[in-house]
């Protein structure tokens, strides 16, 4: 079971993720590789958090935003997904079916949360013109420091935005988490554990798509072949 204190701490992490992504801080502490480990530590199971973070990260490897293209908040989704993954695994009693289901469930929730959080943010974005109007009005009234304060206050807004969304998503997903425990003993779901092996192929697709047309196929092939040879040689 997850405590309120843990949920609050994870929500703050969600807020930090939002600041990292939305304010151009971009220290990359929003990436699932890092947040997975932190969420795992906060929930007392760093290993599970780290494993899920790594698997989820593989999907996002080639997901990049260029020329201001919009992406869903898949990174906040990663925080929520990791929390649900760790909690479900801890309460599963090592049941193979629930363990298998946990990856599928957490990835699915993470992506859906990302889509919803992205949509909520777009609503804010579509109404954010008032910031420009307000700051221009303040400049005309020579209240320059207020414009600066308005800008800085938006950092706090992003922190709060991410934290509140993370909190709401974790709280509302918990009942579903409990229901999934009812799937224990279902042999058919055990094979879902292989998702951890198959999901990274999606990441390869995105990365190859990113490299396409950049004329670096030789280096790609070199990396691939050297690794295959080394793996075979070293057993």
């Amino acid at each position: 079971m997850i405590t309120l204190k843990s949920i609050l701490l994870i929500s703050i992490l969600g807020g930090i993720v939002s600041v990292d992504r939305r304010t151009s801080l971009r220290l990359m502490i929003s990436q699932p590789l890092f947040t997975g480990l932190v969420v795992g530590l906060l929930l007392g199971d760093a290993r599970d958090g780290f494993i899920f973070g790594a698997v989820y990260q593989t999907i996002l490897l080639g997901v990049v935003s260029t020329r201001g293209s919009r992406l869903p908040d898949l990174w906040i989704g990663g925080v929520v997904g990791t929390a649900l993954f760790v909690v479900l695994r801890k309460s599963s009693g090592a049941d193979p079916a629930v363990m298998g289901l946990s990856t599928a469930y957490a990835v699915f929730v993470a992506v859906i949360v990302g889509v919803i959080a992205g949509a909520v943010y777009r609503v804010w974005e579509s109404r954010s013109d008032f910031l420009a109007d307000l700051s221009m009005e303040l400049i005309e009234r020579e209240k320059v420091q207020m414009v600066s304060a308005l800008h800085v206050s938006m950092i706090a807004f992003h922190l709060l935005f991410g934290a509140v969304l993370t909190f709401i998503f974790i709280i509302s997903s918990m009942p579903l988490n409990d229901k999934l425990l009812g799937f224990s003993g279902m042999d058919r779901l055990v094979s879902l554990k292989y998702l951890e092996i198959l999901i990274p192929f999606i990441g390869i697709g995105f990365l190859v798509n990113l490299l396409a047309g950049r004329g670096k196929y030789f280096w790609f092939a070199a990396g691939f072949l050297v690794t295959v040879v080394l793996v075979n040689a070293l057993g």
């Binding site: 304010t23 151009s24 971009r26 220290l27 990359m28 590789l33 890092f34 480990l37 780290f50 973070g53 790594a54 990260q57 593989t58 999907i59 490897l61 990049v64 935003s65 020329r67 869903p72 599928a104 699915f108 954010s128 013109d129 420009a132 109007d133 700051s135 400049i139 020579e142 320059v144 414009v147 600066s148 308005l150 800085v152 779901l189 094979s191 879902l192 292989y194 998702l195 092996i197 198959l198 990274p200 192929f201 999606i202 390869i204 697709g205 995105f206 990365l207 190859v208 990113l210 950049r214 670096k216 280096w219 790609f220 070199a222 990396g223 691939f224 050297v226 690794t227 295959v228 793996v231």
Partner: protein, 283 residues
């Protein structure tokens, strides 16, 4: 060595939150204004970065701004420095004309020539500042194209892929390597581009990148090599877990990503393939 006081040290943290107040009207204009403010204060207060802001300069600089945030510090430093240079130049020219005319005429005509100098200064100023605004926009555009290429296409995928390779092997050090590699270049570009802007060197976007990260072509090759390594590891893992079956599923998945990305967004591609893979495993 000169001791730097609080008053003449640029508050670097302002360069890190440019997109915080993003909106569709000015894009990152408020963030730009917030970052360039210390320069406008210096203009008004004889070099003091923490005084009052020049009112006209404030109105001028709260404008549309859209630039890659990692290289935006270059624009901020250039525009901030040029604002002050232009103001100084106009002031000197206006003073010179007033002085030369007042020395040869009566006190009354000297007053009139003072006004003439001010008008000339204002015209000169509006010309210069219009050019400065155009320079800001073209510079931002060229830096965005270079910044997007280096950060989004090369650095982020490279550092993430390296970190993930290690993480898939269960090594926690993957997180450290990922963050260290990324942030090494991240800080080098953010702070470095700001310093280049202050020096007035750098030129176009491509030159800024070339000066700060001369090895960017090598990093692009390294990314391709790393992706190759990552792909091989994933395929070997697939082969070990499900033999040829998983390798074929993997190949189909990669092909589907390439096909779907031509028509669908990242999100739909992920959801569709994720559901397809889950269904395959259960059924």
């Amino acid at each position: 060595m000169k001791n730097r006081s609080k008053e003449d040290t640029f508050p670097i943290w302002r360069l890190f939150f440019i997109e915080a107040s993003r909106n569709s009207k000015l894009i990152d204009g408020i963030g730009f204004f917030h970052a360039v403010m210390p320069f406008l204060k210096a203009k008004k207060n004889g070099g003091n970065l923490r005084g009052v802001v020049d009112g006209e300069a404030a109105v001028r600089n709260l404008d549309y701004f859209n630039c890659n945030p990692m290289l935006a510090p270059f624009v901020i430093a250039r525009i901030g420095t040029l604002e002050n240079d232009i103001a100084g130049r106009i002031g000197r020219r206006t003073d010179k004309r007033s002085a030369s005319e007042s020395s040869s005429k009566s006190p009354d005509s000297a007053n009139r020539s003072g006004e003439g100098g001010a008008i000339e200064g204002a015209q000169l100023g509006s010309d210069y500042f219009a050019k400065l605004a155009r320079y800001k926009n073209s510079l931002s555009s060229s830096l965005t194209s270079v910044g997007d290429y280096f950060f989004e296409i090369v650095l982020v995928p490279l550092s993430m892929t390296l970190g993930t390779i290690l993480a898939l092997k269960g090594l926690y050090v993957g997180v450290v390597i990922f963050l260290a590699l990324y942030n090494f270049y991240h800080f080098r570009l953010r702070i470095g581009s700001f310093n280049l802007g202050l020096e007035g060197s750098g030129g176009s976007g491509r030159n800024v990148l070339q000066r700060l990260v001369p090895e960017h072509r090598f990093l692009e090759g390294l990314l391709a090599f790393t992706v190759g390594v990552f792909s091989a590891i994933v395929f070997v893992r697939g082969y070990n877990a499900g033999r040829g079956r998983f390798v074929i599923v993997g190949l189909i998945t990669v092909a589907l990503v390439l096909l779907l990305r031509k028509k669908l967004s990242f999100t739909f591609t992920i959801i569709l393939l994720f559901l397809a893979l889950s269904t395959y495993l259960v059924v």
